[in-house]
């Protein structure tokens, strides 16, 4: 499969910009990923988006790899690589230079102020991500109960998350969800 260059450029631009907007981590950009991939570009359906979120959580490695799945879906292996490097590259280069700068000029008040200013924004984005994910995944009330149950278990126990994903998968396979 030879994806058109235009598609690869769209992937690169979309995720390259998102990389620099991911305040507090890649999970903050889930609403934007959903908006672009499902609503604007119509690359995926809602349920495909939910499936890819599930696969990215099931796989080892950083959670950002949902972009690899989206990239593959849009433009095959080239798409997967372009999306991954676009999402990780720009912020990585930025982090490298900022880290070097900070080790040279310590004790400035600015990093602390910036950090305090960014925390509420990043948590607001995480809440929005939670909402979007709930709306795309929980299409039945039993699914919503399963989600609430998993959240409660994760909050009160130290159970390995992988077990909860596995239980969700088994319940899904059995046709409960």
């Amino acid at each position: 499969m030879n994806p058109p260059t235009g598609t690869l450029l769209t992937l690169a631009w979309t995720f390259g910009l998102m990389s620099l907007l991911a305040i507090g981590g890649a999970n903050s950009t889930i609403p934007e990923m959903h908006r672009v991939a499902v609503d604007v570009q119509r690359w995926l359906s809602d349920s495909q988006f939910a499936d890819m979120f599930a696969i990215s959580q099931l796989s080892p490695g950083p959670n950002v790899l949902i972009v690899t799945l989206i990239g593959y879906h849009v433009a095959g292996i080239a798409g997967a690589l372009v999306a991954t490097f676009a999402m990780c590259g720009p912020s990585a280069v930025f982090a490298y230079f900022v880290s070097n700068m900070l080790t040279r000029s310590r004790h400035s008040a600015w990093p602390a102020i910036l950090q305090a200013a960014l925390v509420p924004i990043s948590i607001g984005l995480m809440c929005a991500s939670g909402l979007i994910l709930t709306l795309t995944s929980d299409r039945t009330w039993i699914a919503a109960v399963l989600t609430i149950g998993a959240a409660a278990l994760a909050l009160v126990t130290r159970l390995n998350p992988l077990w909860m994903l596995l239980m969700g998968g088994i319940l899904g396979f059995a046709g409960v969800v």
């Binding site: 609403p31 099931l58 490695g61 950083p62 799945l69 990780c88 900022v98 989600t147 969700g168």
Partner: protein, 199 residues
């Protein structure tokens, strides 16, 4: 160099200062923690960097992670780049980056290919729907944990900003760029003003 000649090297530096990891070592260490990290690599990164290899003290690690958390982009990728860079410059950053990202990308791409081929099978769709419900629950739990310190502070300005960003992105589904271009300067000005008034 044959192993017999190794003791000829003065061992003091070996004992006192933590060793500087080589490029290949960086690649392997980050590949290992990445492949061990289901649902988050951070725990494994701390274990490998602080406990196992003693490349950083716990304080140094926390400081590096705090920096990576407030910089944009995937936190753990930033951590790999910052960590690799501190020890070996740009080549170190690239080695750590490729170790962290390379092997899982190969796995995920394989899964993507399987999904593209068999994603329509009802049993697989049901299973993934179930996994996704549980994964969303875990995500909500993480978010709730992150919110607790902010709620405890009872800072009305921060909570108003949080709510405004949530409404704009989550409910109104506005594009991220204009929202952040408004929210970030506003938040910086407000934070600055509050600190200035407090002092």
């Amino acid at each position: 160099m044959p192993p017999d000649t190794a003791p000829a090297i003065p061992q003091t530096s070996h004992v006192t200062a933590p060793q500087r990891p080589g490029l290949f070592e960086l690649f392997v260490a980050f590949a290992k923690m990445s492949l061990a990290g289901f649902g988050g690599v951070l725990v494994w990164a701390r274990r490998a960097i602080v406990d196992q290899h003693c490349w950083m003290t716990p304080e140094e690690f926390n400081e590096a992670f705090a920096l990576c958390h407030f910089l944009p982009g995937p936190n753990i990728v930033n951590l790999a780049v910052v960590f690799g860079g501190r020890f070996r410059g740009i080549p170190g950053s690239i080695a750590a980056f490729l170790g962290l990202i390379g092997p899982p990308v190969m796995i995920v791409t394989t899964l993507a290919a399987i999904y593209a081929r068999y994603g329509e099978i009802p049993a697989l769709q049901r299973t993934l729907a179930g996994v996704s419900c549980a994964a969303v629950g875990l995500f909500l739990a993480v978010t709730a944990r992150m919110m607790v310190p902010l709620l405890k502070k009872r800072d009305p300005v921060a909570l108003a900003l949080l709510a405004a960003v949530f409404v704009a992105i989550g409910l109104l589904r506005l594009p991220l760029v204009p929202v952040l271009l408004t929210a970030i300067p506003l938040s910086i000005v407000l934070t600055f003003a509050m600190r200035w008034r407090a002092t």
